[in-house]
Each structure stands twice: as structure tokens, then as C-alpha cells.
């Protein structure tokens, strides 16, 4: 399987813009107060260590082999399948949550009189097409929309920079800084885990560690700028209370002293990273599930081909839509899922289950 690392990085980076706006600085400010905006930089050393570990573990992969295939090759049949089912379950749950969180964002920012069901269903069906299609269609889409989204984000941050009150970004406290690192660590660890999960083994030299440091550093800086722009405008306490602080910020922006109320456009644009992240998770879930049930997924299968256990992809789509409809049915429950359950699950899988599995595979398997 051939997959360019640069394209995969762009896909993951763009997809992460969706949870980034949910977690930063809202969750970070709730945990770390005024130090929240620096959380991503505080999380960077741990993320780099994790990246180095995963870089090392990648040596276990055979050329063209991805992580799910490695599990099946190296671990016992039953244990390997159980692990793949666990990963599939996590990814399906996360996809369901993404559908619900995306619908909630549309509801609170642009469509207050609507319910989440229509949005969950529409996006769920779109994600199903992404899972039915080849993985490269997601990377292609990321190449088209990624630069545009980063540009829009930078434009918003640049416009908001003028009204940042620097005193809102102080004081900084060591303990608070560590607490506020968790949401950013959650994001970065998930991104690195996704990269490890989807990136196939190579014969030659892959992306160097320095390049990884550069990418992670830039992404962390972007997250810091995002946190600073929002916190500098609303203060830490209010940022923590707002459900969608970034979109509240965009609602307040005036461009060139004449253009305002652009939030609907930006909210609309943020469906794209939702789609990319959801597509990525659903692709991963269906792959794990099919491998666990003894099927051999191939790259380039036709969307409407029902052979080779491809009906399971439809099942994954249905399960994630059902989860999207059932999860977080009231605001308090959704906030609990958003700020506690999902970040903890992501950290548990990204920082513990995935590297431990890869270590076990490395011990038992010879590349």
C-alpha cells in the first residue's frame, strides 16, 4: 500500500481542526485558567516523546503493511482479533460522538431552532460514502480543503489579534500550565496515533524525526495562537463557559471596518474537518472490523461492491449514526462526553493501548 506521508500529515492536521475548536481553549481554560493558552506548548515535549516512540515502533511494520495488519500477523489469532475489535469500537464511538458534536455546533451557532437528528443523519451518510471509497479520496480532499481552512483560521486569528487584551493571558502558573496541557496532548496524541495507524511500513527512510518536530511545533503554535486570541478577548473564565468560543469570537469580528457576521460561513466551512476526521475514523473502524472478522480489505475497492465483507462498512455507518443520535442527548451529558469521556478515551487508546500493542507486536514479530 502506498501512501504519501506528507499527504497523510495534511489530512490528519486538517482533520484535527475539528476537535481543536472544541477543546481549545474551552476545556483547557476550565482546567488551567489563565495559563490555558500556553497548554499546547506545555504538551509539546510529551507529544515529541510519544512521536519518537512511535517512530521507533514503526520499524516493526513490513513495507506496505499497516498497524491493523501488523496486529494480525504478529499476535495470536484470538488476541489480535479482540484487539482489532477494541480499536474498531473506539473508532466507531468516536465517529458517533463527532457526528453529535458537529450537529450540536451547527445548532448552537447557526440553527438554534433545529434538532441534531438531521445533521447527524446527513453527515453520517456522507461519512459512509467516505468509508466506502478509497482512502486516497480523503487525502485528496484534504489537499484541496486543508490549505483553505488553515488560511481562514489564520485570517480570523489575524483579525482577532488587534483586540487581544494581553493582561487576560496572565498570570501563568506551573500547576495550571500542566493541567491545561491535557486537551492539547489529547489532540496531538490522537494525531500521532492516527498517523501511526494509517501510515504503512516503508522500505526506504520515512519522514525524519526533525520534520515531525517541525510539524508538531507549528501545529502547537497554531493552537497557542487560537487559545490566545479567544482568551485574550473573553478572558479564561468566560472562554471556559462558552460552548463554542471560537465561533463566538468570529461572530464579534469586523473585517476591514465594514464586513461582519461571517460566522455562518465559517461554521459551514468547519463541516469539512468534521468530514475528514469522521471519514478517517470510519475508514479505520471498518478496516479493523473486517480484518477481525477474517476479511482482507483491499485499496481501490468499488463503492458499491458488497463482496469481501464490505457490508460491514454499511454496518459501521449505521452504528456510528445510531451512536450520534443516542450520545449526549442533553447539553450536560454532551459536555461530559466532550470534556471528559472522549478525551480520556482518546488518551487511553492513543497513549496506552496503541503503543503497548505496537510494543507487543514488535517483540513477537520480525519485520
Amino acid at each position: 500500500m502506498k501512501r504519501s506521508e506528507g499527504k497523510l500529515n495534511l489530512l490528519i492536521g486538517t482533520a484535527l481542526l475539528s476537535p481543536a475548536l472544541r477543546l481549545i481553549p474551552g476545556s483547557a481554560a476550565a482546567l488551567g485558567g489563565t495559563s490555558a493558552w500556553l497548554g499546547p506548548l506545555a504538551a509539546l515535549p510529551l507529544a515529541l516523546l510519544y512521536a519518537a516512540l512511535l517512530q521507533r515502533l514503526r520499524r516493526t511494520l513490513r513495507p506496505g503493511e499497516c498497524f491493523p495488519e501488523l496486529i494480525l500477523r504478529t499476535l495470536s489469532r484470538r488476541f489480535g482479533r479482540a484487539l482489532l475489535l477494541l480499536f474498531a469500537g473506539w473508532l466507531l464511538l468516536y465517529t458517533g460522538f463527532l457526528l453529535r458534536a458537529g450537529a450540536d455546533r451547527l445548532q448552537i451557532t447557526a440553527y438554534p431552532r433545529s434538532g441534531p437528528s438531521f445533521f447527524v443523519l446527513s453527515m453520517g451518510l456522507l461519512l459512509l460514502t467516505a468509508a466506502l471509497g478509497p482512502f486516497r479520496s480523503l487525502t485528496r480532499m484534504a489537499r484541496v480543503v486543508g490549505p483553505a481552512l488553515f488560511l481562514v483560521l489564520l485570517l480570523m486569528l489575524g483579525t482577532a489579534a488587534k483586540s487581544v487584551d494581553c493582561s487576560e493571558l496572565l498570570p501563568l502558573g506551573g500547576e495550571e500550565l500542566l493541567c491545561s496541557a491535557f486537551p492539547a496532548l489529547d489532540l496531538l496524541a490522537f494525531g500521532l496515533a492516527a498517523r501511526f495507524f494509517f501510515s504503512p511500513g516503508r522500505t526506504g527512510k520515512g519522514e525524519g524525526f526533525l520534520s515531525c518536530v517541525r510539524r508538531l511545533g507549528l501545529f502547537s503554535l497554531l493552537l497557542c495562537a487560537l487559545g490566545a486570541a479567544i482568551q485574550g478577548r473573553f478572558g479564561a473564565a468566560l472562554s471556559a463557559r462558552l460552548s463554542a468560543p471560537f465561533f463566538a469570537l468570529v461572530r464579534n469580528l469586523v473585517f476591514f471596518r465594514s464586513l461582519e457576521r461571517m460566522e455562518a460561513l465559517v461554521v459551514g466551512l468547519w463541516i469539512l474537518p468534521d468530514f475528514l476526521l469522521g471519514g478517517l475514523c470510519l475508514q479505520g473502524a471498518q478496516r479493523c472490523l473486517r480484518l477481525a472478522l477474517g476479511q482482507r480489505p483491499e485499496e481501490g475497492e468499488s463503492r458499491l461492491d458488497f463482496s469481501g465483507g464490505r457490508l460491514l462498512i454499511w454496518l459501521c455507518g449505521v452504528v456510528s449514526i445510531a451512536l450520534g443520535l443516542l450520545l449526549g442527548r442533553d447539553p450536560a451529558s454532551l459536555q461530559h462526553w466532550s470534556r471528559t469521556i472522549i478525551p480520556l478515551l482518546n488518551l487511553f487508546y492513543s497513549l496506552l493501548v496503541l503503543p503497548v500493542t505496537a510494543l507487543l507486536c514488535g517483540r513477537k514479530g520480525i519485520p
Binding site: A110, R113, F118, S122
Partner: protein
């Protein structure tokens, strides 16, 4: 099959754009009436919501009022009475009547946060000795544009977001106050809205009001001073008008030997220019210059002391001094931003004002 699936998906995509979808709140531009100001007043068992339209060349400013138990109910009544859609997406300001502010202003502020039409940087004004409805009906709300803080500097005082942030952080906040007074224009019956200092909001409602003189001291302490004239009397009894250009306040904590906070030291710096003097005394002369500077310092010291006394009496840190202390000594004053209000009465205050006369506007 493939084409059918594609068609179904294409039909779903517009649902996510908001253009005529099942869930869109589509608004026809021709049916919208653009509202400029919103007013809120207390009513028995609820509130009165008033909206005034934006002035245009073709039409006079129109005012609409509705009442209800909540803001949404009042808005619903108002919309049904108006017979057209009153669009609040571009509101310029919100006026709050004094009686409404004495209730629970957080209701309004949380409504602003939750509304998809209203913005957090919406300027909010308190109307003293009158109602917000009267202020809107007087047609003078348009003049508020001059008073509204620039939206680019929405972190400053008196925006909905700023008030909510201060209430969260220090338990009280300043809100710009206005007062209705008879029009200065000849033949004009409608009263004018003029600045009337500040109101002090606490979580339970309006705690007190600050006169324009105290307001100047508050702006000096919060670093939001805008140029304003100040009348002094020199030793010969001549009236001297200076214009305060800018000012700043450096707040430092004072600790005892055990490290406990015992007081606050406030160092205020103000810069002013001479606008008018009755007669022609020479400001270039060192003695006279020093005399004016000392007079200015004395005047500012008196005003700031009076304001600090109010803050101590109320037990409310509406000036954000706790936050200043946290910034000055982050380790030792941690969390003081939220607690200073209750501690203020026990703390010693050391105040020093340093004034500087910049120039005398090209005549010495």
C-alpha cells in the same frame, strides 16, 4: 444504483449549508426591519423589551415594545405585534433600565451568550432615573454610537462579554450609565441621552452608581481613561481647565514580615494639557507650572480616595484591583482576583499620584 446513491447524497448536502434547507431560518431581506437598539425594563412579574429601528433617509426611527416573563417571551410578543420580522443581528447597543438592573442582570447577559443574533461585544448602557423604553422613544439612541466603545477594542468596559467576564472574575463590574435630560436644541421636545458616570453591577444586581467625577477616577484606575476636561482653581482663584490626556495605575501588594497581605500600593500617573486659564498667567514659569501640577495631583488624589472608599464600603472590587495584584505578584497573590472584594475593608491603601503637564496648547 451508483447514480441513485450519488443523487440522494447530493440532495442531503444542501441541508448542511443553510440555504433553503429543512432547518434553515431563512429570512427574506425585504421583510426584515433592521433594529439598532434594544431596551430592557423591569415590569411586575417580568420585563418590558423595547426595540428601536435604525434611522434611514426614508423612514423615521420606529420603536416597538413587548412584555413577558422572559426575554424570549417578550421578543415573541413584540414580533407578533410588529407584523414584520424585527432583525436584531446588527444591534448597536443594549440599554438597561435602572430597575431592571437592580434585579438580575445575569439573565440578560446569559441571553446574549446564548443568542445567535446578539454578540458578546454588544455595548450595554444603564439608563439612570428613567427607563430604557423612554430613552429609545426619545430617538436619541442613535447618539450612543459616539459613546459606544470601538468594537475592535471590545475588551474594554461595558460590553456584554466584558461585564460577564468581570462578574465571573471579580464578582462585580462597571457599566456605563446614561441619563435623560431636556434637549439642548431649541424647539426639541424629546430629551437627550447624556453620559452619567457608571453603575456598579454585582451578581445580585445594581449595587451603586458612580457620578461622572468618580467615573473619571475609575477610568484612571482601570486604564481606560479617555481625554476629559477637569476644572481647577489656582491660588489666585482663577479657573484653570486642564484636559487629562491619559493615565495609568500601577498596583502593588504590601505584605507584612510573615508574608500576609496587609495593603495595596497604588501609583497613579496622569498627563494633562492646559486648555483654558482666566487671564494670562505664564504656564512656562516653573513656579506656576508646579502649582498647577500640585493642584492637579491633589484633585486626582481626592477623587481616587473617594472612589476607593466606595469600593471598600461596598466590599466590591469593581475596579479589578485584585486582578492587578495577581499580575503584579502572581505567586503570592494567587486567586486574589476573585477574593479581594471581601478583603478590601481590612487592607491599608497607600496612594500616590504623579501628574505631568504636557503643554499649554501653544500659548505660554
Amino acid at each position: 444504483m451508483k447514480k441513485a446513491l450519488l443523487l440522494v447524497l447530493l440532495c442531503l448536502v444542501p441541508g448542511l449549508t443553510g440555504c433553503g434547507s429543512l432547518h434553515s431560518q431563512r429570512r427574506e431581506l425585504a421583510q426584515l426591519r433592521l433594529m439598532e437598539s434594544m431596551g430592557l425594563d423591569a415590569a411586575p412579574g417580568g420585563l418590558i423589551l423595547s426595540l428601536s429601528s435604525a434611522p434611514s433617509e426614508e423612514e423615521e426611527v420606529l420603536c416597538f415594545s413587548g412584555s413577558g416573563v422572559s426575554l424570549s417571551q417578550a421578543m415573541e410578543q413584540l414580533q407578533s405585534r410588529a407584523g414584520e420580522e424585527l432583525f436584531c443581528g446588527h444591534l448597536q447597543n443594549i440599554l438597561v433600565g435602572e430597575r431592571y438592573a437592580q434585579g438580575a442582570p445575569e439573565t440578560l447577559l446569559s441571553a446574549v451568550c446564548r443568542s445567535s443574533d446578539l454578540r458578546l461585544d454588544q455595548p450595554v448602557f444603564l439608563v439612570l432615573d428613567g427607563t430604557a423604553r423612554e430613552a429609545l422613544e426619545s430617538g436619541s439612541a442613535a447618539s450612543l454610537r459616539l459613546l459606544s466603545p470601538d468594537r475592535e477594542q471590545a475588551g474594554s468596559l461595558s460590553t456584554a462579554g466584558g461585564i460577564l467576564r468581570d462578574l465571573d472574575r471579580q464578582g462585580s463590574s462597571l457599566i456605563r450609565a446614561l441619563r435623560l435630560q431636556p434637549s439642548a436644541r431649541e424647539g426639541e421636545e424629546d430629551p437627550d441621552l447624556v453620559p452619567a458616570g457608571y453603575g456598579i453591577l454585582g451578581a445580585e444586581g445594581l449595587l451603586a452608581t458612580l457620578s461622572p467625577e468618580e467615573a473619571m477616577a475609575a477610568e484612571l484606575l482601570t486604564g481606560t481613561l479617555s481625554p476629559c476636561p477637569l476644572l481647577l482653581r489656582d491660588r489666585q482663584g482663577r479657573a484653570v481647565t486642564v484636559e487629562l490626556q491619559d493615565g495609568s495605575c500601577a498596583t502593588r501588594p504590601l505584605f507584612d514580615r510573615k508574608g500576609a497581605l496587609t495593603g495595596l500600593s497604588l501609583m497613579i500617573r496622569a498627563r494633562a494639557t492646559v486648555l483654558e486659564i482666566a487671564g494670562f498667567p505664564s504656564v512656562a514659569e516653573e513656579d506656576y507650572r508646579e502649582e498647577l501640577t500640585a493642584l492637579l495631583e491633589k484633585e486626582l488624589t481626592g477623587r481616587v480616595q473617594k472612589l476607593l472608599r466606595r469600593s471598600r464600603e461596598l466590599g466590591a472590587d469593581f475596579l479589578g484591583l485584585g486582578r492587578q495584584l495577581e499580575l503584579a505578584a502572581p505567586w503570592r497573590c494567587r486567586g486574589l482576583g476573585e477574593r479581594l472584594g471581601e478583603k478590601l475593608p481590612e487592607l491599608a491603601l497607600r496612594l500616590r499620584v504623579q501628574a505631568e503637564l504636557l503643554h499649554s496648547n501653544d500659548i505660554s
